[in-house]
Symmetry: C2
Subunit: 408 residues, 2 copies
């Protein structure tokens, strides 16, 4: 018999309890041992549940019970999850977690503690919900040098952008609809402003490149400034706007990472990722591009990923998984002046001098739309260093200026 | 030091040798031990290579060397690979293989032998080349009941269909081009007629559903009958034609599986899988649809998957991976009269009576194209049992009749 405890009984936690308790036979079969939930830590009252007897408000009971070998942390947030996870690992319990905020902030430290105590710390559910992504990176792509990870990592923003693209809704209306449908939280800031995607790309980059990338090191921009005008120009350029999280290993071993809305060419399969779906493209030197796609959130997808980690821990109670990255230095992530293609939108009350100065600044550019009626030029640049592109734009006579990166 | 042997030095085998020898430091770091190639079994002469000293023509040398703990079988075909793999496993060596023909024909037996001898038999490279798919199914989706697996599993046929769709090439021309570009073999039968895709869906279904599905149990149809006319009608129905391999678990626990060209709706992400790319969609009860995408073949992608398996074996020399399925019974795979949507193309020299009888047989059908000029009706049926659809078609007055399944 292998005893587990679940910390938290929210959306994901209740899903984990449901699978482990209701589908116990199925899970135990996979483990080749009986698996049992001994405690569920939760302050709220669930005395009406059939498994109410498992609930406790006292973490000390769990930490002091040596029978508990695996703990699922599904509380979210840093405090008190960080303390709880640390203490569990130090007392020889393996921990699985769906908590991206915690892993993005403290992953290196917690993995180090797990290694020292010869237990496992797994967190497949923290990125991409039910999409298998961390294990494939760690195991299946082990013979590759990974160069780039590019992902649509937030379903809420992808849903909103999709509504803007397909139904011509403006941002505010699409956000309201997402809230109504339960795809956006009451306070949607973390999703809309890109923080959620940022945490996930930090976890992916840390694992793929071997050193911790911290959220505050990643330039992050959300989608709140994307307008229907941008969406429509993107469509004319045969692109779709997506919130793209990206991490790249530079030849000098440093990492370059950002989260920002981008125009994605329709020949890129990421442009076909619609609705609340997520997708992650991993570029390895041997495999080329490999993509993982599915629903990135939701109770049962995420809970099933947590349970898969529990199963893996249960099978490896006495054998550590090699799941590890080092701490990163403050200069590990650099704000590189990278080569990009940019989408640029310029407006002017003097359309003629806008056009003339544009033609002078970008004489070779053939990928542009000149709209005399609205006094605008939208164009997509060739790939070049960003500062070079901006230097050229400076020579143009415009009243207002806006740009977005492209992935074409 | 962990010693390995490579059976075969063809396309994949030379890639494996290259990674293990040239990138030895990288691989050894991942294993946390030194890994070394002791033998390469090959009848052909490679005496010009820097690592020529490792070559041998004598399998007995390898099997009798107790230092060799891991053997990579990358010869392809059943004989002598089957014998060699069996003997390696029985003598306590772990085996990794890229040989889909072998795994599809003998997987259950070899997994059983591996289990009895407490060694590993891994074959990630046998399906989807460098795309991680078997481990994610076995580990990450462990808390799911998998219902359906749907895949584009053969790059050659996908390339040919893509050329027909995008460039309007006919089948024969597209096949010639594929040969020229090295995407099709001199004898392309196994690809074109669906046998290659069939082997791969057998492996996927065996792993996902727990019992061996044999190639001869799977109804298999290739793409040689797909015409430009079909491609053009598909486009008008907002679909693309893809060679789809499918396996489904029925409520009674039996399996239904087939390989056939299908019209795939453009809102299905599989329709966006172009060129030599492969993609596999796994539908789990908790995760919903999860897709894995990448190049399904090629020297380095496949070799890197073999090496990842070697790394995994090396890390688990004394701990067996739970990678297993039982043998299947002869009635395990059933030729179910399943519910499908069909694309149907009817021709007649008497167009008026064709149309009239069609309208009578399918009075509700609104998804059809009537082409008086060519005397044809193309239509897509609602989802229904195939025999019911065929009974209706029988009532129509046509001269010739053709159909394909759809996935819309």
């Amino acid at each position: 018999m292998i005893y587990t405890a679940i910390l938290g009984h929210g959306t994901v936690g209740s899903g984990v309890a449901e699978i482990l308790i209701k589908h116990n036979k199925h899970v135990s079969e996979k483990v080749h041992d009986d698996i049992s939930v001994k405690y569920i830590l939760e302050l709220r009252d669930f005395s009406n549940l059939s498994y109410a007897a498992k609930f406790t408000k006292d973490f000390e009971k769990i930490i002091n019970d040596n029978d508990v070998k695996i703990v699922a942390e599904v509380m979210g947030g840093i405090s008190p999850a960080y303390d709880f996870v640390k203490r569990c690992l130090m007392s020889g319990k393996s921990v699985v977690s769906s908590n991206k905020e915690l892993v993005a902030a403290k992953g290196a430290e917690l993995l180090e503690i797990a290694a020292k105590n010869n237990v496992n710390f797994l967190f497949e559910a923290s990125v991409g919900g039910g999409i298998p992504i961390l294990r494939p990176i760690a195991q299946c792509l082990a013979a590759n040098d990974i160069n780039t990870i590019t992902g649509i990592l937030n379903g809420t923003t992808n849903y909103i952008l999709n509504k803007m693209i397909v139904d011509g809704m403006d941002f505010a209306t699409a956000l309201s609809l997402a809230k109504e449908k339960g795809f956006a939280e009451k306070d949607p800031t973390a999703d809309i402003e890109g923080h959620d995607a940022c945490r996930k790309i930090c976890i992916l980059a840390s694992l793929a490149f071997g050193k911790h990338v911290y959220p505050e090191q990643v330039k992050t921009e959300g989608i709140s400034k994307v307008t229907l005008e941008d969406v429509s120009y993107a469509d004319k350029f045969n692109c779709a706007i997506k919130l793209i999280a990206r991490a790249k290993r530079l030849p000098n071993g440093k990492i370059c990472a950002d989260v920002s809305p981008r125009l994605v060419g329709k020949n890129n399969i990421l442009s076909s990722v619609d609705g609340v779906f997520n997708a992650i493209v991993v570029r390895g030197d041997a495999t080329g591009d490999v993509m993982f796609y599915g629903k990135g959130a939701g109770k049962m997808p995420t809970a099933s990923a947590v349970v898969a980690d529990i199963i893996d821990c249960a099978k490896h109670l006495h054998a550590r998984k090699y799941f590890y990255w080092q701490d990163g230095e403050s200069d590990y992530v650099v704000d590189e002046n990278s080569k990009e293609r940019l989408y640029v939108l310029l407006k002017s009350s003097d359309f003629k001098s806008l056009v003339d100065s544009f033609n002078n600044a970008f004489p070779e550019n053939t990928w542009n739309i000149k709209n005399e009626y609205s006094g605008e030029i939208a164009f997509i640049t060739d790939e070049d260093f960003e500062d070079k592109i901006f230097a050229k734009i400076k020579k143009i006579k415009y009243d207002s200026f806006k740009y977005m990166k492209a992935l074409i």
